[in-house]
Subunit: 230 residues, 2 copies
């Protein structure tokens, strides 16, 4: 079976020296990749420079990306040639457009003018006490996966912070339906640490609870191959 796995977090440039990064160690993605490789599957891992990588393996291919645009261009052809996508990467929701000093912003009659501006300086400098950064939404890659390949089996992830179990499961179920995923792995950052990774594997008709990264990887392996063997 050919698996496409994403891990790590994207970074969106503000200018040549600064960027906004979504934090993700890549540990869970690396563990999942190692589990499938050990089972004899082929894995393509799309990840970031700083993410934790799996041990090298003859059936493992790694592609490094930085930002959402890279990710989109890298994933589109890969989604078409893989059987399963496990999309654990923390993808930036918004990307910088323009940054300016607060005085320039308050002097404007119409803030929409800044949505079409671009900074010309390689390093944006300002003497103002306050700065303002305008950002725009990035393309939602997970919602395009089934358009690129209706047959790919999709496992998505949803990370929230300090929410109730009900809220977490509701958001995961909405994502499951919207993106036609088989499972959404729903987790809350407040319940993730070095030694613990609490998550709910949300399917259409059931929810399975896991408490470690190893358990999440094992449950995904079992799910994917159980269905495979039917």
């Amino acid at each position: 079976m050919k698996l496409l796995i994403t891990s790590g977090g994207t970074s969106e440039k503000i200018d040549q020296v600064r960027s906004i990064t979504n934090h993700s160690t890549g540990k869970l993605g690396a563990l999942i990749a190692e589990s499938f490789l050990a089972r004899g599957d082929q894995v393509t891992l799309v990840t970031t420079q700083s993410a934790v990588k799996p041990a090298s393996h003859p059936n493992l291919t790694i592609q490094i990306i930085k930002n959402v645009q890279d990710l989109l261009e890298t994933m589109q052809p890969l989604v078409k040639t893989h059987d399963v996508l496990i999309h654990s990467m923390a993808v930036s929701d918004y990307t910088p457009i323009y940054m300016a000093g607060f005085d320039q912003i308050t002097a404007s009659q119409d803030l929409t003018e800044f949505l079409n501006k671009t900074n010309v300086q390689g390093k944006i400098s300002s003497q103002d006490d306050y700065q303002v950064l305008f950002l725009k939404q990035t393309p939602k890659i997970i919602s395009q996966v089934k358009k690129w390949n209706p047959n790919i089996r999709l496992i998505g992830f949803k990370l929230l912070v300090d929410v109730s179990k009900e809220k977490l499961l509701a958001v995961a179920r909405a994502s499951l339906v919207k993106n036609q995923a088989e499972i959404i792995v729903a987790n809350d950052l407040d319940h993730i640490s070095n030694h613990q990774h609490h998550a709910y594997l949300v399917k259409q008709d059931s929810v399975i609870e896991a408490t470690t990264k190893e358990e999440i990887a094992q449950l995904l392996l079992t799910h994917i191959h159980a269905k495979d063997n039917l």
Copy 2:
């Protein structure tokens, strides 16, 4: 001699899952530390988790920081107990205050209201096509060094992007005077790569040119110890 060296780049949190990072590999700071250690000096290196570290050494102490506030609290006592500060860290000029959807911003009569707001969500979410992030200036640490310890010898750094030599030297000289530094190492990101690091060591009455990280480290070592031996 006791040297305090800073390297890497600070990260300022937007929320629990995103932050703005100033990029810096830490390679130059690590090389400088190794040069002084080899000469027999004691080095305290203040750096970041992801920065390149020098080889371990009995006279090397490493302290890890994340953001400008950490850096300030860590450096203030250290500046008082060291003879020389080589401040090569890329320090964030601005730190996030508040992020909101574009609609909320445009509906406001007075944008200053957002300068006192704080996000309550651990992960800021929005359905808007555009988001706006307000940031405030961080404390300028380099300008406080001589107040904390008037006797410390200060080597500062100035990184610009795609500017003329004249502009780069002028900005470096202004920093030299303002911060009472002995040298400002002025460099342009467009002239830094894996194998090359073009820089001007700007002193009050002279400018020395360097083309590699090794050369910069060697010149700083010679400068510090030449004056030391007078």
